[in-house]
Symmetry: D2
């Protein structure tokens, strides 16, 4: 199964004085894609917080910055879940430049600008203590990781 | 009485691709100064939220951007309260460049980079409905605006 | 003529500890709409900077915050130009909640969450000195403000 | 040799709707500490960019988020360099809560809220191509890592 993809446009707010996207701004893009991955599966974080009393907190991450994005770039952020136990999810995520110039001359797939692995813990919205993932989510992950194999 | 002053250093996070401080970043600087003005009078916002159930929400603002700040600049943010009724405070705020090059050649006071007027409403932390300012705060404002006159 | 409209989704990055959108985040939303207004008229800021050596810098703004936006909200940001002389443009901008709950029960138009007026100066990309607006832009503004009358 | 330490206060701008510091905000704190580490050794990034035509770009990072920081917290960010070849530097960085409640009951050292390893590449300010580290910096790193051993 192909990865979930979410488009992101680069604005002034995302750049820094070196003329490229600031290194922390990519984390905002990665999170938008994770949130939209969840929404595409029928659930918003607002709803999970209100109705089930859970939120997701990033527990760890690794990021490889391979090539910089710039003002006005159209990016595509991918998001692929991986099972990581009863209370957390892993996401393999990549950011590509899309739009004009995003692909290779031969039409092949361009290399990602950034590769990340993000581990997200499911926690109680008030105490921030670890909670089991809701069953709909373990089922989604099982389905998507099986389909991807 | 001279205005409360709070130092702020400009980092990469504050700049944008035009090489200057991004226009929304100044609002973060203004808020730090308001928060520190309150802390210098003995109260943190965390404490006001927990113990009195109130938070402050910006209701309106005007900003004049006169001259840009840049990476590594040392700024000084001022904060002067003005009475605005039972449930809100006004703040006249300015941002100056301090450190080397911040003053005028003759040693006079440099012109501000930015001038702002910010109206802040006192609201219930949960419902966000307007609340009367706590009495310690109306007293502080009365004292400081009288002294300033 | 109806105002240009740009959709914005609220993510965690935009909220603060009071559970609502942070007051400076709205300025990021306003700028996305101005940038997309320009792009819809055929020009990107990257291109104006590279080919004409100009950038736009916010010179002043006023914002009225009427009602808070929250996580997951779908917003709509409007952008209407106003002529302001040879070297600057004014924008009247509003932010509405769209999607479910954004309108009034009777189907009428909901009140804006925020109203802003932003004056943007056209400046030299290196010296930041004022420059005349490019002619395509004065023509666009003349056309749109006439049509709006 | 003990690690370089830089104090950071948590403001509203750093928090998110879950009431804790947003995961990308910590990257801003980490960078302030790296910038101040460099400044304490006599060099600003503005100067390196202007006079030597180099800037530093983050090439990769790992972050372990162990415990959340909250509004008003006083944090301490550490920064210890590690040699990583001719064109890049590694930084081992940690964030601790300082001030009241930051230490353990017995007076011992509290556990870090966050641990990070950041690899920073020295690049040409215009082309972003890798450049050798300036000699003052390789000397600083050699001295500090020897002293730390």
């Amino acid at each position: 199964m192909s990865a979930f993809r979410w488009p992101v446009r680069v604005y002034w707010e995302d750049t820094d004085g070196a003329g490229i996207v600031y290194y922390a701004s990519y984390l905002r893009f990665l999170e938008r894609a994770r949130t939209e991955w969840l929404r595409a599966r029928g659930h918003s974080q607002q709803e999970l917080s209100r109705e089930r009393g859970i939120v997701f907190a990033v527990a760890s991450l690794t990021v490889e910055y391979r090539s910089p994005a710039r003002l006005d770039d159209e990016l595509e952020v991918t998001c692929e879940p991986e099972p990581l136990g009863a209370a957390s999810i892993g996401f393999a995520q990549r950011i590509y430049r899309s739009g004009p110039g995003g692909g290779t001359p031969g039409g092949g797939k361009a290399a990602p600008l950034l590769e990340a692995n993000v581990r997200v813990a499911c926690v109680d919205a008030r105490t921030l203590r670890p909670q089991r993932l809701p069953s709909f989510l373990t089922e989604v992950i099982a389905r998507e990781t099986a389909a991807g194999g």
